[in-house]
């Protein structure tokens, strides 16, 4: 390949086939999940929510970290900043996915959220008290937030591409983009808490934690960095980005290492405060997870803390593709599991509660009766009584894994398509030279 072919990425036919078949696999899994599900399609909707939030969150983190770097006058990442720009474009797909979720929640079609069930809210003091935030109006607001994010991401990317086209000596476009990124940061800071509370934390509607937003966003941040490393290694192995050196990987590896520790710090802070205070409504969250999901609960810490901590601690492991690929794959899977553990127990509990309230009302007599019996025994002991959908709730089954692969392939397909539409390197960025000579 000559150098003129290397200014842009073009997706090889083989890669296209693989990604498209991955997407088909995910779609088939979703369909199978839907038809093998309980009356409320709890497993389908939790899988849908889980992956939508996870990949939308990764694309949000891309534009967020891009904005942080740009605002901080960082230069090391300029060579591959198009990767983050292209990742952030996935927000529009995220808006569609979350849009489906919002519509079905507002029109009472998915039964994911305990607070969305008006019957439960009237009977429940805590839910009634929270209903000024946990309601359809705010849920729609959190959907609109993605559109705002996408608007910023779109502006930032178009400015960056415009900079490629014309060489402005006064760096007008650069300073304009600095305004966009700096404005985005506070907006992103506040709205990301809002949406993660609405989408994920409100699944356990009785429970709340002030650390939750930070903790789950740290999860997404690590996943985003890991995905960036894997994509960069893939591109480099295909001959793109000849000027990206081990120095850049070293810095990305440091981010993956540092934010794995940061994630653990937040995870533990949240856990310890709740454990120590031992307030009933709060403790039940971890009690459920520790007793009914012990494998995932402890595996979460091993995968997301111990492995990256001990593997990436040394200098040289951050400078080797082998260890970076291994840790990258492990932490992406680990943080996906982390979200699994955030979403599934609460949703299952809600399903049991709903079964208790509605019974036959939803026209699924068999499942309904079955679940009334379970719910009346003890709704909290999810794992022991979830006879109808054990695989999808206590541990990710094949359907969860394949759905996730489908979403991942969709994310990558969209990413590479957007990525191939602009130059690989932002050639007129004023900090490009700094990135070319980056040395740790």
């Amino acid at each position: 390949m000559n150098s003129s072919n290397m200014t842009r990425y073009s997706m090889p036919a083989k890669q296209r086939t693989i990604l498209l078949s991955g997407m088909a696999l995910g779609l088939i899994s979703l369909v199978i999940t839907w038809f093998g599900d309980d009356a409320h399609h709890t497993r389908f909707w939790t899988n849908f929510l889980h992956n939508s939030v996870f990949f939308t969150g990764i694309s949000f983190m891309a534009v967020f970290f891009y904005s942080v770097c740009n605002t901080a006058w960082a230069g090391w990442h300029i060579q591959f900043k198009r990767i983050w720009e292209s990742m952030s474009m996935f927000l529009i797909v995220g808006a569609v996915l979350i849009g489906i979720l919002t519509l079905t929640t507002v029109f009472d079609l998915n039964h994911l959220y305990h607070w969305a069930d008006s019957h439960s809210v009237h009977e429940d003091k805590i839910l009634e008290h929270k209903s000024s935030f946990l309601n359809n109006g705010w849920f729609i607001v959190s959907f609109l937030v993605i559109l705002v994010w996408f608007y910023f991401a779109f502006k930032i990317r178009s400015n960056s591409i415009e900079e490629d086209e014309r060489h402005d000596k006064e760096y007008k476009i650069h300073f304009k983009n600095r305004w966009w990124t700096a404005t985005f940061l506070p907006i992103a800071g506040f709205t990301s808490c809002l949406v993660i509370w609405q989408w994920v934390m409100s699944l356990d509607a009785h429970w709340y934690s002030t650390m939750f937003a930070w903790y789950s966003l740290a999860s997404l941040f690590v996943s985003m960095i890991a995905l960036t490393i894997l994509i960069l290694i893939y591109l480099k192995s295909n001959g793109y980005y000849p000027n990206i050196s081990l120095e850049h990987f070293h810095d990305l590896g440091k981010f993956m290492f540092a934010f794995s520790i940061f994630w653990t710090y937040l995870w533990f802070s949240q856990y310890m405060l709740i454990w120590y205070a031992n307030v009933g409504e709060e403790t039940i969250y971890f009690k459920t997870r520790q007793d009914d999901y012990p494998v995932l609960f402890y595996a979460n810490l091993v995968i997301n803390f111990l492995l990256p901590f001990f593997i990436l601690m040394r200098n040289d492991t951050k400078r080797k593709y082998g260890t970076l690929i291994f840790v990258g794959l492990v932490v992406i899977f680990g943080h996906w599991l982390d979200f699994f553990l955030m979403i599934k127990p609460g949703a299952l509990h809600t399903a049991h509660e709903l079964a208790g309230h509605h019974g036959d009302a939803h026209g699924a007599a068999d499942h309904g009766h079955d679940m009334v019996a379970h719910a009346s025994e003890a709704g909290h002991h999810a794992a022991a009584h979830a006879s109808t959908f054990e695989a999808g709730f206590t541990l990710p089954g094949f359907l969860e894994i394949f759905t996730a692969i489908g979403f991942l392939c969709g994310f990558l397909y969209f990413f590479y398509t957007v990525f191939s539409k602009s130059n690989l390197v932002a050639k007129n960025d004023p900090y490009l030279t700094e990135s070319l000579h980056h040395h740790v």
Binding site: F268, M272, Y276, N278, M313, N315, H439
Partner: protein
Amino acid sequence: MGQYNKDIVFGLYNDETELMHAIKEANKDHLDIYDVYTPFPVHGLDPLLGLEESRLHIAGFIYGAIGTLTAFLGMTWIFTKDWPIVFGGKPHWSVPAFIPITFELTVLFAAIGMVVSFYTVCGLGPGVENPILDKRITDDKFCLAFDTHHVSVEQAEKFLKTTGAAEIHNKTI
């Protein structure tokens, strides 16, 4: 203390690029460099001088691990064997409550251990006076020094002059 009995010929450069160039030339001529002093860390200097990677971080890991064990086993012994007290109805061996202190002691042991090791290995510390070649090497001069036992004075001076050193001095330290 502070006397090495070494006769040093050293040149002061005004710029780190000149210094880097000179080091490359010296490596080419197989001249044995005594040491290089710069007012700030210069990128790429270590591999040029062929310096080994510091082993300080390995020591730091060991000190940290000792701190972890000291804190965790110490608290375990105190709260289960030596003086068990019930705090808020929690079990005596309450691992989550031990974690913050374990973390603090890990950091403390690693930090203090590394500082002491570093000072010991480098011969630094209170009351130690180390000879310096020129005060301006902590300000704006870049120094390349030769030991006259390995490189003759004439050879060193000639080399420093041709590579563009702004000043050339002799000093016994």
